[in-house]
Assembly symmetry: C2
């Protein structure tokens, strides 16, 4: 349980034991707690006082499946608040196998310097001058790093967008095939990494010193039961392997909650061209891969490898949120163009959600037409080229709205919402508005509780029960993001006895009793730290709101607006 | 005492009596009170819910000298808080002579529409379709308006920057010669006017229905004594007529408080080339005008008319703050270039302070070199051309800092400071940080109390007494901006018995007793309304701070930093 502290100003590295205050914490609990404790809330997110912290989930590198989840934390240059951005791939497992609980990156290298941070098989860390890697896109970068350092590493890096310190810059990390296609996308944390002068984190995958277990047998037993439930579940056992997250396109579009053309409509007439079913068929016909393993320890294989007509690799993995942001949101029904945009964002180091929505806002403001995929590709390329307009796109939807004096900008706390229109699923209005993360779907995904087809019992057009649903889900997810279980493996949690398996695994690893109250306490601890940071950063209840468009513009075809009152929003975190 | 309400959405105009709640108020007390009462604090500053209010000072159109002061109020797109921007010229006297206490502009014309608002000699208001005036720069606009409507009008208008809704856009108004060279520059209120679709306000100067006086004789007697004191004072009676506000260049540079090259230094080695003395000499040699009357009812004549080598008009009036922002701040010692930049800003409708500082930040970030006046001119022209980079400059220094990832941005609440470095005059640190206006010098100019040469007794490098000085001056100035006396005619207030003359004039106009307590109460009322609005808009004590550079970078030649503590900042408004 080591903490590696890297001072980018002094170029020093210290390896410490994880401080007692953070013992037993991983993932989001560790990143948010650490940021809240150590970063002055009003500091410049791109300045030396901000800290970038990488922490694998508490379960990473344990025998439990689907636990290679990395939390990246910092003050966000996009929202101005605290941020935890969660990503899969292989890095979390690699760090866990090295016995590393967190890497803390402090200070700032002088402008113009570029550095690599390498974690050796023995867990030692070293800073390596990286001028030769400057301005490289991520795919070429990873190739060059493999040439230099070998393939048995996990690479977590930024592209030109992060180096330009753009607010929608992502941190990309390699998947099982070594493609830098897994993104800690939200919150602009790539810009924070860029500001520190850190181009890439190279982590050996050869570690064998995972945290000791208090009761390895008990852990294994619970982990086995958990894995069985994941496999047995229809969604994680059959639908996700076949269609990936893209299975949601049809489902969400059908209920009129698929934000289309910058959220002017709730249904996209070309949804069938970009659905999970269509995508899987195209991939199969062309000889690409569905049921593809993207992350270490994954047993779901929801990933895919999208290929072109010649069968050549285009991108991995084409996901629901990107199909929406680069598809419906910009009026584009061309799946090949979506795949290209997904690749470009990964390669340049951009959040696909924020970037697609930024393009959608530009199109809504009259700059290029909805559906013009070539224009969208050109805009993303402008980001890499560093043109004035490219920087505006790269700073995300709010910057684009300001540039065009356009106020239809679907952001909360500066960050764009995701692929569920809050007017058609009111519970998502609560999550978008109140999450300390800003507009975010994973922080409190209550779509299932709102849709009958998903077993939901809430009236999705009514306020009733939505605050409670969002609150409970946000608390739960804060705990899930801390132990570090993949969102798509939550079927294991939902199964009969599933959550008890999780409690047993925490207890078995820590050697301390752990139960339902502790789980709640963990989630609350995380949210309270995040809210405290945001309050000190200057957030007020007025920031827990949606933009006017959602209260005033009825969304076709149901023609509903958001009906959650301000008082209800404020009651969400009444703890 | 009429209030004209213009609804730009419905294109309707209503003339009402000034509501009882605002009786006896003028200028800033009226604009800030009205905005605080009627504008939702979290609304979009460029949306239909914002209100733009024009209100002459309470003394405008009375026999008192130097009282053609107009307050323009709105929620600011630059600071996100409440704003009062104060300007001279002829419009306040013109409105006062028509018996108009305020013009309230509500709603928003559809995008693409351009309107003129004309106030006839009888005080009636009419909206006139103004498509033909779209995108015009202000000098050409005024010329065309004179052709169309005659010369006996005061024109208050925006240029291309306001139409583009840029955050540093000014509202320009005509001087005694009909030049649109007087600017309500701060806070981006030109963008608010542009967002409403209002290109120009044309006010007849033929009004003869000024507010009635309760005791005209008593007013006249006090006004006469006041005018005598203004004339008798050395600063307002001799120095200002001879050198204008540019007299400050030498004085402030000498004490090392002249922010140079984006505030890297406190003295500019070419200050003597841009001083008031040099300017007056050049103007005289070329046959221009010093001792020029810019505003109605002015007896100081601090204005000037700067001419080129052929004696042709360049701009009026070249003022201290502009000589600084387009001179020292960008390392430019060429007074002709400063005059050209001043003209361009007036013509395009840009705040010279914010724009000069924006250019300074760009140069500090490495975009063009300090001292490159041609590059500065090109940047301002880009604003008019509406290029991507022009918009960034036009949004002011914070936008430029973000664009270049540069954190040496001398703004408070998003608005740039003025020409007094707070490290060399600590009292200005308090005013910059705490004024509800954001970085602003007129809100609480305590330079005189800090400089021995001005009779000051405070230690300008020490925190002692600075909070109290700033607090008292801010209260006083809020009252001054409400009665509407020109800042430069404050010598009349400072003279023995001067403030009592003001009390007597308020009493003589209103028919109500008025004394020192009422004066304090007036200032406090204004500040409390402004602070209340800003609180609701989401401002917290953390917003009452300076950027880090002022606390961390010692300013040559005295090598001092700001020493006012956060607690002292927060004690400034302990009422």
């Amino acid at each position: 349980m080591k903490l590696i502290k890297v001072d980018m100003t002094a170029k020093t590295i210290r390896v410490e034991d994880l401080p007692a205050a953070y013992k037993g914490l991983g993932g989001r609990a560790l990143t948010s707690g650490y940021i809240n404790d150590h970063v002055p809330a009003t500091s410049d997110a791109l300045g030396p006082e901000n800290i970038l912290i990488f922490a694998p989930g508490y379960f990473s590198a344990t025998p439990l499946v689907n636990t290679s989840r990395l939390s990246v934390g910092a003050k966000s240059p996009l929202t101005g608040g605290i941020k935890e951005s969660n990503v899969g791939g292989t890095v979390a497992a690699a760090l866990g196998n090295l016995g590393i609980s967190a890497i803390v990156v402090e200070g700032q290298a002088p402008e113009g310097e570029t550095w690599l941070l390498k974690i050796e098989p023995d867990g030692q860390a070293v800073l390596i001058e990286g001028q030769a890697y400057r301005d490289m896109r991520t795919y070429a970068l990873v190739e060059k790093l493999v040439d230099e350092f070998g393939a048995k590493n996990s690479v977590t890096c930024i592209g030109p967008a992060g180096e330009q310190q753009l607010s929608a810059a992502s941190i990309q990390t390699t998947d099982m095939d070594g493609h830098p296609c897994r993104a800690a996308g939200r919150g602009g944390l790539g810009a924070v990494m860029g500001a520190k002068g850190l181009k890439a984190l190279i982590v050996s995958r050869a570690g064998k010193n995972a945290d000791p277990m208090a009761d390895a047998e008990a852990f294994k037993a619970a982990a086995k039961a958990y894995a069985k439930a994941v496999k047995a579940d229809e969604f994680s056992g059959e639908i996700l392997p076949a269609l990936g997250s893209a299975c949601l396109v049809e489902a969400i579009n059908e209920v009129g909650a698929f934000p289309t053309r910058n959220a002017r409509e709730g249904q996209f007439e070309h949804a069938d061209q970009i659905s999970g079913e269509t995508m899987a068929r195209i991939i199969r016909e062309r000889g690409g891969k569905t049921t593809h393993k993207g992350c270490a320890q994954c047993i779901i294989d929801c990933s895919n490898e999208y290929v072109d007509k010649e069968g050549k690799y285009v991108t991995s993995s084409l996901e629901y949120e990107t199909i929406w942001s680069m598809g419906g949101m910009i009026g584009n029904g061309d799946l090949d163009a979506i795949a290209r945009l997904d690749f470009l964002c990964d390669d340049i180091g951009l959040d696909t959600i924020s970037t697609g929505v930024a393009i959608g806002v530009a199109m809504d403001a009259g700059y290029k037409s909805f559906g013009d995929a070539q224009a969208a590709i050109a805009m993303v390329e402008e980001v890499a080229a560093g043109t004035d307009f490219g920087k505006i796109i790269g700073h995300g939807p709010a910057a684009v709205g300001k540039h065009f004096n356009h106020d239809r900008v679907p952001v909360m706390k500066g960050q764009s919402m995701a692929a569920y229109d809050p007017r058609a699923i009111q519970g998502m209005a609560v999550t978008y508005a109140t999450s300390p993360m800003g507009g975010d779907h994973t922080a409190g995904w209550v779509v299932d509780q709102n849709l009958e087809a998903f077993g939901g019992t809430l009236d999705r057009f009514s306020a009733e029960g939505q605050v409670e649903a969002s609150r409970n889900t946000q608390i739960h997810m804060a705990a899930v993001d801390s132990v570090g279980i993949c969102d798509f493996a939550q079927s294991g949690l939902a199964a009969p006895g599933g959550i008890e398996n999780v409690y047993q695994m925490v207890a078995a690893k820590s050697g301390q009793p752990f139960g339902e109250e502790d789980w709640q306490a963990l989630g609350l601890r995380v949210l309270k730290a995040e809210r405290a940071f945001n309050r000190r950063a200057g957030f007020t209840p007025a920031d827990d709101r949606l933009p006017r468009m959602f209260y005033e513009e009825p969304l076709p075809p149901h023609n509903k607006v958001v009906v959650i009152s301000d008082a209800e929003m404020e009651a969400t975190f009444d703890f």
